[in-house]
Symmetry: C2
Subunit: 471 residues, 2 copies
Amino acid sequence: MERDPFVVVGGDAAGLSAASKFRRETNRDVVVFERGQWVSYAHCGLPYFVEGSVDRLTDLLSLSPSDIAERGIDLRRGHEVVAVDPAARTVTVDAGDERFDQPYSELLVATGARATTGDFDASLDGVFTIHGLDSAAALDAYLTAPDAYDPARLGDGPVDEARVTHNAALDPPTRAAIVGGGYVGVEMAEALTARGVAVHLFQRSGHVLQPFGAAVAERVEPHLTERGVTVHTDATVDRLVGDERIEAIVADGERFPVELAVLGVGVRPNTAVLDGTGVARGPNGAIRTDAYGRTSLPAVHAAGDVATARHAVTGTETWIPLGLTANRAGRAVGATVAGDPTPVGDVAGTAVVKAFEMECGRVGIVDEAAAADAGFDPVSETITAGSRSGYYPGGDETTVTLVADRTTGRVLGGAIAGRDRAAIRVDTLATAIEADLTVAELERLDLAYAPPFSPVWDPVLVAAKVVTGKL
Amino acid sequence: MERDPFVVVGGDAAGLSAASKFRRETNRDVVVFERGQWVSYAHCGLPYFVEGSVDRLTDLLSLSPSDIAERGIDLRRGHEVVAVDPAARTVTVDAGDERFDQPYSELLVATGARATTGDFDASLDGVFTIHGLDSAAALDAYLTAPDAYDPARLGDGPVDEARVTHNAALDPPTRAAIVGGGYVGVEMAEALTARGVAVHLFQRSGHVLQPFGAAVAERVEPHLTERGVTVHTDATVDRLVGDERIEAIVADGERFPVELAVLGVGVRPNTAVLDGTGVARGPNGAIRTDAYGRTSLPAVHAAGDVATARHAVTGTETWIPLGLTANRAGRAVGATVAGDPTPVGDVAGTAVVKAFEMECGRVGIVDEAAAADAGFDPVSETITAGSRSGYYPGGDETTVTLVADRTTGRVLGGAIAGRDRAAIRVDTLATAIEADLTVAELERLDLAYAPPFSPVWDPVLVAAKVVTGKL
């Protein structure tokens, strides 16, 4: 008898990576239910579409529906899975005009995460979160003068046309507030500046890019200012003001007139599909998974932004929703379900972000207090060193924060900022961290040296030397 | 009684790193004998001085003699050590006008390497090796029209003025031959092109940049051609033709009229100082050293381009003269002699080179035959992948060759080429190799992803996926 299909809930990074890998390994059936119309899009590309450096919205799609069909994946868009019955091994699917139960042999929940709006009224015109192609399309339309809007920007995809049309008809903003100085906030500051909008960036804590540490922020904040962004740190945004359309933002009692607010205040895992199943949860309510992406429910996997993962440094459960690890976890689950048990891999919290010309990277545990909480005895140093030999033109000071454990010497985390090939250097640290290298071993690595690319002692090695000297 | 000083032979990377580290750790005496006048210069910067992207010759100095004096190092320039008596623990020093014996408590031989000229007559005007500041100064003078030469190019250093004056008086060349397509050859092709000289590059084997493998060369060679360099591979240079000044080069029987020839045909360790001591030798006659830089002679260390080192992949003795490992080995010997035993570290053969816009890197064992010779069962794959998300502008195809051992899965080596941040990505592979990661572990690394810097799957990860699939 034919086995029931492998059912995947969610048609983005983790879900389609799983379905694709599964189909490469087996000819069994896989069904992907996606509640929306868009599938397989690059979330991280949204700011660059808004900025205008990506021509068409559909350029952000990795796979078209026909690519997906060619892979033998049964993709059902506009199909929302509203319930899971782990005992019966069925999901209940709401397809709009019908509702049905779909049996599964194995299930993958890959429903991702959603942008939150905090306590703010996100229903006003001119208020956006950056999540999903429709929000980017709407914001792009809003930023464009009504007589200048070109629908060719959308490409040929299932865009929410009513929302685009509505926003395209409004007068474009000249002033914007960005609430939240994380990746999205910083990337949107660059994007909106490129679109000619004056930007105020509000960050609740003491510095932007909190997970990158203070030293990176000390490079980024003056650079944002230099490029015309007004940065407010230790700032509490009280409310958004407006009737139909946003008119102002009030922060610490001060009123800033704006016609645009972008909310980058956080994301939450989309776990509702498993409500009522008693599935085990981890940090932030994310679905708890093991080394193979298995949940506490039989034959139910979770992967990507909805799921927890093991942290490479602490070995404990964590929730860090990012693109590569979502793709990888999905791919691993696809292989596992197909019969080739494949670990999803640890997450090291590696992240890189561009802020105008400034490149920033971070990995592992950068914050000393967090390292102490995890049971380490952290030693942290920040250095600056040239990105190239001093005599070679075009280099830039590169700032490196390196954190190690005093007891074992192990590298725990690091962060990097600079204008010249700085971000990609975090990969050296990510590799060292996942390989459990000590800082003395890091110091002795035979890294690249040539005047146009690195001084004799790469900034990463300089940091390692200084931290080794403190142990 | 005062101990005899720590004596260092050679005042460049390894020697001065050793002396500096020694003085930071102890107040004992250190004497550095340098036979020439230049100390502490950046050999790797010479092509960029010739190119004109470095303003003054003395910009290539890391430390001035007064910096060195401030560190408490007794530097004696123009002092050649002509013999070592390991039994008596003395060196014989020829200071030009006097010759004396200097006792030592410990000795470091850091005499570096020299460029060879093969069978070619390097005494003709217009024939250069790129080794030492004087050769770069002379070539720069030769490249400049007599009435345009500005001695300010030299800065304020102990340059060989007669050689510069002689070359500055000659008509500048319009056509050049570079013999040897290694790093120096490729870098000089770029430098001479920038100086308006038409370049023929002759490489004896089938492709340029031999240690980087064929796939890198397949990117570099067309790029050199595109930039106006004529590349001759599988080419044997028969002889240089000329009376006083070079007039032509003959390769495979064909005559190429040139006014300049740059010889980049290899380097040899400067071991003569230990002739007659019976010191043990390794590959290429380099001085054999152990994990702490000790030679077979009591109290005699060697470091840098004159010494062997342990290869990170094979664990066997090798001779790979490069800048970082010379600096590091010297520094480690300085610490060890000061009383803090410090391993010199392995070498992984990490190298990066810029060829116009093309960035290339390599590490470990790239050549399958060499891997087999070292006892591995190599699996090698070459892939190309984007350096950025496909929709983000400014990226370039990045070529990655990855070599792993079929039996253990261990990463053995890799090479990279591309125009967008390609070279520095080799550090990821260097770290993985020195940490003994398998290719499956490499594939699961949490590396950086953001559209401006890397696609979801970095080219290194794509290569790891493909090689893992072949194991």
